[in-house]
């Protein structure tokens, strides 16, 4: 069979529109946007067009959009930058226990510096409630950072509602959301937030480009200083071709976002039906998860063995968690959600994109059935 790529939460194939924009930019617009001559002005024009076009997709003013290398940088910038800019006002931060490491690790550093962080645990089925967040707010809360969509389970958190609640209780707290798995797939919540992170390569753009939305007036100490690029928030000559590719990918995704989403939802249901017809499987994604993500476990087959077997058959997926024998840690997300160890060790994540087709999903269903038929008896006998 042909190979099928179902690991779109890790990264996505680059859309033809993005390839064309990058190619065109590399060939014709090599200038440095800061330069005063014609090539520089041309590059600055490409950057401006990209910023306006992306701002429209984000639903924010173009001047509040800052380009960077991707969501990891955006998350690091906003978390450490906002905390350091507002530390005189308070030193308490609210987040969840299921954030991406690019949010958790900067927060750990802040804890070492004396900040206090409250990690909220979402319910594996009901997710995170606005009330949960409200209860965690304190008078000295300066930052609330909650992801829009969880990368491992696809759980969607009501970040726009959370932001509105926070604003009514704790006016001065900055509300940020890591939107890397939601941007371009769900309606953008950025307009209701103070800060929102995104990466081009999760929506069929190139790696190495991303954007941080930061509401005008929110103070943030830059991570990278130097030539004062991006209004001083992020020094370093802009990745013009990457950004052009990002804008083209976002425009292509935004054009028919809703139709694409319902098509992806149909493919996901098709995949769930195929899995369920093969017998016991544990659903890890909550019922209202984003359509692009399906996390399941096939105990007692180790997740890594499933990934290898599917890879041999041409299907690229990923484990929720590395093999129990390897030195890699178990998934902190699935642990925080309270799943059993044996379930965590056998978790597999399928992640879809608008470039997948129903025919692909159908063939994956067949491969999956055959793989489970082969591996289940072995794993069960061995672990008897």
């Amino acid at each position: 069979m042909q190979s099928v790529y179902l690991d779109n939460n890790a990264t996505t194939p680059v859309a033809p529109e993005a390839v064309a924009a990058i190619h065109d930019c590399l060939e014709h617009t090599f200038g440095n946007p800061s330069s005063l001559h014609r090539p520089g002005v041309q590059a600055d024009g490409v950057l401006g067009d990209a910023r306006r076009s992306l701002a429209e997709q984000f639903g924010v003013p173009a001047r509040d959009l800052y380009f960077c290398s991707g969501a990891t940088e955006a998350n690091n910038t906003v978390i450490s930058g906002v905390a350091h800019a507002y530390h005189a006002r308070g030193r308490h931060i609210v987040t969840t226990a299921v954030e991406h490491p690019s949010v958790i690790e900067p927060l750990r550093r802040l804890e070492e510096e004396g900040f206090t962080v409250t990690y909220l645990s979402p319910d594996p089925v009901k997710g995170l409630s606005v009330e949960q967040v409200r209860a965690a707010l304190r008078a000295d809360t300066i930052l609330v950072s909650i992801m829009q969509v969880n990368n491992e389970t696809g759980a969607v958190f009501p970040v726009a509602d959370i932001a509105r609640m926070v604003k009514s209780h704790c006016k001065t707290a900055v509300v940020h959301s890591d939107g890397v798995q939601g941007f371009g797939k769900l309606a953008s919540p950025a307009g209701a937030l103070d800060a929102y992170s995104s990466s081009a390569h999760k929506i069929h753009g190139p790696k190495g480009a991303g954007a941080l939305y930061l509401r005008h007036g929110v103070r943030c100490r830059p991570l990278l200083v130097g030539g004062g690029h991006e209004t001083g928030l992020r020094a370093g000559t802009e990745n013009v071709p990457g950004i052009a590719g990002f804008a083209a990918a976002a425009a292509a995704a935004g054009g028919k976002r809703e139709q694409d989403y319902s098509r992806i939802a149909a493919m996901r249901s098709q995949l769930v039906r195929a899995v369920e017809s093969t017998g016991r499987a544990v659903m890890l994604s909550p019922p209202d998860a984003i359509a692009t993500t399906l996390a399941m476990a096939f105990p007692p087959i180790p997740g890594e063995v499933m990934v290898n077997a599917l890879s041999e058959a041409g299907v690229a997926v990923s484990t929720g968690s590395a093999c129990a024998a390897s030195r890699n840690k178990r998934s902190h997300v699935l642990e925080a959600l309270g799943f059993e160890q044996r379930v965590i060790d056998s978790s597999v994540r399928f992640s879809l994109s608008r470039l997948n087709t129903a025919a692909e999903v159908e063939s994956v269903g067949e491969v999956l059935a055959a793989t489970l038929k082969r591996l289940r008896p072995v794993a069960e006998r061995v672990l008897r």
Binding site: P302, E304, N308, A322, S326, N328, V382
Partner: protein
């Protein structure tokens, strides 16, 4: 500092064209009288292959191997990934001013990195060859001493070996005269006969004099290919690559077998085996082959039919049988494994004995005498440690029982194996073997040479 006499000694001497060469000394080879010629030829061939240079540049002469430095082929320079790695004390750049000189320096750096990995070499040094007269000798020694003094050296010692007994000045007299000259010209230096910063060696030969100041330690051992051939069972752990390295050090040429079991192990475990072979091939004149054996079915069958305590030993016996067949087919004389007694609970003598009887082949265990610390230190030095510790297991946790049997009787093991169609499983695995020629940077040419 510009006394006329110094200029005379340093400039009037016939230094143009300066001939520079690499002197290679061997150790054990010199001892083995009966085998000496063969070993030396093997070493010479290996040096040509590992330096990837023209054979005519490498000559066995005066109980040494000499390598002619010459114009560098830029394509071949790029072939060494350590081209930019400088030897620690590179005070050998006396002629670096001309472009010819700097090309030679570059070549010396590239070669030095490669020579360190040629087994059978005791030491090697960059030497200057000058005409057979005292003035030339004096100016060559002075050049060395001056460069070293500029680099901070404060004490020195001269050593002469006078192979040419016709040379009119005897060793004592040479030492006295040349030493005195150095002290006079470079007052910052002192003589220290016990632990000098700089030891300048002078060899008076029949047609020329060689002067060299720094002996770089070689890898020692015997030239690869001089004592036989073996097949290493490469697990992906820390030990087996080190075992292969020690076996190569004793002159064995090496091929490798790795048992992979997709889907229970992944592509990255296989890549790890390839990278280990690539790292080990840098110590060998010919790239060792990697035999990849599919092992999943055997693991499934063993897990299905034998008690969990015996899984490990029965799997190991299968590996030994299959490796034995591969060795037989390719005429490799022994198997090499990374066992060390008692390192893990199941590495007992009785288990090793039960594994060994699965094949007729001689099984080498070069690590038996080493502690884990030493093995790890060696792995770091030879460049396999960082690969071995990548977190991709060569055996899925599914087939690694919690409690393997500590002391297995062969009879009991054989009883459990009767539940399995041994021959059919071995044959099926052999039919699925892939042979990989791992060619890292610079490896392609070497493979071609082997074909010729």
């Amino acid at each position: 500092m510009s006394e006329p006499s110094e200029s005379a000694a340093a400039q009037n001497a016939p230094t143009e064209p300066l001939r520079r060469l690499v002197l290679v000394a061997f150790d054990e080879i010199a001892l083995k009288r009966g085998q000496r010629g063969r070993f030396m030829q093997q070493l010479r061939t290996n040096i040509v292959a590992q330096l990837n240079c023209e054979a005519k540049r490498v000559v066995a002469r005066h109980g040494r191997i000499e390598i002619e430095l010459g114009e560098l082929d830029a394509n071949r320079l790029g072939a060494s990934e350590e081209a930019s790695e400088r030897p620690e004390h590179d005070d050998d750049s006396s002629a670096a001013h001309s472009s010819q000189g700097s090309r030679e320096d570059e070549q010396w750096r590239v070669w030095s990195a490669s020579l360190r990995r040629v087994f059978g070499i005791k030491w090697y040094a960059l030497a200057e060859a000058v005409p057979l007269n005292l003035e030339a000798l004096e100016s060559a020694v002075l050049r060395r001493a001056r460069n070293a003094a500029a680099a901070g050296v404060r004490t020195f010692k001269l050593e002469h070996s006078r192979k040419n007994k016709e040379f009119p000045v005897d060793s004592m007299e040479l030492n006295r005269r040349v030493g005195a000259l150095v002290l006079e010209r470079l007052p910052e230096l002192r003589v220290d006969v016990h632990s000098p910063d700089l030891l300048i060696d002078v060899e008076i030969r029949h047609n020329e004099i060689t002067v060299f100041a720094e002996k770089h330690p070689g890898a020692e051992g015997l030239p690869v290919g001089s004592t036989g051939s073996a097949l290493t069972l490469l697990s992906g752990g820390i030990d087996s690559p080190v075992a292969a390295w020690y076996a190569m050090k004793r002159g064995l040429s090496m091929d490798y077998v790795h048992f992979h079991s997709p889907p229970y192990t992944g592509l990255k475990a296989e890549q790890k085996a390839r990278d280990l072979v690539d790292a080990l091939n840098r110590w060998s004149p010919q790239p060792g082959r990697l035999f990849l054996v599919p092992f999943a079915r055997i693991q499934e069958e063993v897990a299905d039919r034998a008690p969990a305590g015996y899984w490990t030993i029965i799997q190991r016996r299968f590996m030994q049988r299959i490796a034995g067949r591969i060795a037989e087919h390719h005429r490799l004389e022994a198997l090499t494994v990374g066992d060390s007694i008692g390192q893990v609970a199941s590495q007992t003598l009785s288990n090793m004995a039960a594994i060994d009887v699965a094949t007729r082949h001689l099984v080498l265990r070069p690590l038996l005498g080493f502690d884990k610390d030493w093995i790890i230190r060696t792995a770091r030095e030879i460049g396999t440690y960082e690969i071995s510790i990548r977190p991709f297991e060569d055996c899925c946790v599914l087939f690694a029982p919690q409690k393997p049997a500590i002391r297995c009787e062969v009879v009991t093991v054989e009883q459990h194996e009767q539940q399995l169609d041994l021959e059919e499983l071995v044959q099926a695995a052999l039919e699925g073997v892939q042979v990989v020629t791992v060619t890292g940077p610079g490896g392609v040419d070497r493979r071609d040479e082997r074909r010729r």
